[in-house]
Amino acid sequence: MASHLGDPRVVEFDVRTDEMLINMGPQHPSTHGVLRLALRTDGEIVSEATPHIGYLHRCAEKIGENLSHRQYIPYTDRMDYLAAMNMNLGWALVVEKLLKHEVPERGRHLRVLMAELNRIASHLVAMGTYGLDLGSFTPFLYAFRERERILDLFEEVCGARLTYSYITPGGATGDLTEGWLEKCEAFLDQLAPVIEEYHTLLTSNAVFIRRTAGIGVLSAEMAIDYGTSGPVLRGSGVDYDLRRDGDPWYTGLYRDYKYEVIVQKDGHYPKDRDYPPVPAEAVLGDSWHRFYVRMLEVVQSVELVRQAMERYRAAKGDCGAPLKLTQRLPKGEAYLETEAPRGQMGFFLVADGNAIPWRVRVRSSSFCNLSITHEVCRGCLIADVPAVIGSLDIVMGEIDR
């Protein structure tokens, strides 16, 4: 907004409203974690929203230079603490890429199984907290009721409910306990009808549509230009999913799996036959679409987990023993991005011949997803800011590292 104060030709506003500077956060109930948003508002209209981050900065990259690759796994858990399995997977794959160490067939399917289950849990949290941001409390409890079942499954395998440290370079800390697959089967069968509830409760709810459709519209070019990824990118109609288009070392994990990338092509989504249609007010790239992509990805992940279970049962051998603590890393560097629930999670590893890496760099998806805030929130109402930030589904642990 070019300032017109000095320009005499401009007719000054009759009703002079002075701008108000408001701090939303860092301990605001609706910004997910410790994010501080400085809003300059004119009445209810937000003229400028600048996010301030760094409140949860632990400098995980510096720590990476003092720990062996095996010891760094617990740190990756605490970056995106809602999808710790995917973080472990990313770090394990980049170390194996540097070592050119292939994990046995059974271990590969186990990793897909765990990663997709954690994606379901993470998207459930995203759906629940988004309902909270918009004021309806009930979806949050439904989401956590389902998520508890997934956490029970994880707890049975690796003993932890949030920071699993289960997938490690070389394989996994332990194989599945017997009877686990049947429990997982029972959970998946029970999840399908429950997804209907979430759709009636939120996606096709008139009030929800009025609060999200057309809010925080992000065009495809801007989405790519700001480096956004995951549901935020696909919500803007960009057909880019690392499980299919990513680094060959990562796409090799999903090579024999059948799935479609959830993105809107010529007006409708691949899986939306039996789910509510796109409402009229929804513009491609708005908060509603980002939410809808996440809901359909849960269904996609359910199918992937079923395929992974079949292949896991068919595969022989063990699931890959973790590498030794003092396993030396060859001189060289490797970069690998994986499709985490929130987007592209990149790990860059520079090694100089001994077990402790020379440099560790972590590319966070929410970091880029959050950078579009000032672009998207300009001109919307104060009540829309949590709606937009909620649709980006950011986790501060991953942004601040």
């Binding site: 108000m20 109930p29 609706s30 004021g135 409390f137 009030v207 009025r210 009540a383 800011v385």
Partner: protein, 453 residues
Amino acid sequence: MAELINLQILNRLLGWAGVDLPPSHLAGAVLAALVHGVILLGIVAVAAMFFIWAERKVAGRIQDRLGPTRVGGRFGWLQALADGIKLLSKEDVRPREADALLFRCAPYVSFAASFTAYLALPFSDGWVAQHINSAVFFILAVLGLEVFGVILAGYASGSKWSLFGAMRESAQVVSYEVPLGLCVVVPVFICGTMNLVTIGNMQTGWLTNWLVFHDPFTFAVFWVYFTCAIASVNRAPFDLAEAESELVAGFHTEYSGMRWCYFFMAEYGSMLLVSGLATILFFGGWHGPVPVFDMLGWSSMGGVLQYVAELAGAANFLIKAVVGVTVMIWVRWTLPRLRIDQVMTTCLKYCTPLAAVCFLGALGWQTGMFGLAAGPLWSPNQLMAVKQRGEYRESWVLKAEAAAAAEGSAAQAGRPAASGDRDEPDVSGETEPARSSATGAVGSPLSRKGGVG
């Protein structure tokens, strides 16, 4: 002033105690006022406590969990009392830059406004604290005062966020009074009176006599009324004032302890009030679906049997009111919150025009297409009507007729002696047509053509 304070209850009490205290005496009046005040406060406080517990239980059920179960007995029904004690023991904190006087007064203004409206709300035939002739208008007027408590609270707590809450709240409540008023007028002009007791009595008889089934427009007006009621009582999805996600807790961010409890009681009080009004205006107030006590003839028997009939009527009224409040709770825990401009557009672009259209429709229906048809068009109310709507009389008219009849028989023709019956308004003067016009006019003024003789 004998009739002004409805003394049925007091006479019964004093009768048992054997004391004869004429209400015009100072002590009599104060005692009567106290009795009414305590009964009403009791009803509102107990209702608020019950709704606190009901909200937790219903919310629990909706969210697939149990709600409170441990406090006091199996169903945790003492939870509300525990909350009350907790709030009492909490310290009443006041922020430093808060405006001391206004900060303290705001909760009491809000609670007083919400409580005074119960003065005119009848719980059963004749069971009303103050038999006000324009009761509906009185309730709407007092309901509008509650917004003051919120504005002062938002302003006096000094923080930017509560100021936002106060501004949104006042804009919303003031603008929702318009459609609310429009919707309330429909049952009023169908019954031809604003006296809630008479409106309730006009719906005696079977289920079909309830005004909500009077005609399709009144049915639609009920739903518009219910939406506006939810908005004017500030419940989700219109609870902008305390939109937790954006404004932390809106206007009562800085309040804690007993002061916060007053706001809470005010909210639940006006929730019960608004759904009680809906019950009387649309759902036949204290009349059950099947007129059991009319068939038995108890309701006009007098004495204990009439008391039992009225008690059943009060139970009917409370059940319907509680159903209305439960629906409000149910709506709160399912729908997300609307934005302030969407709340305003629903009011100005949806509720007000819809209420206006239904108003015109019902008016046309009631006046037989503005005079084209003979009288009011057919409506389910005529199916099993106990008495035609025109034959109901307000209590003061009955008294006037009784007095006139007594004089008619005693005195000869001509101008009746201006005896002690000074209450007689000059309306019911000596000429017969005048009185019938007064009473006729009461029935449905608009429908009588040719005006008064």
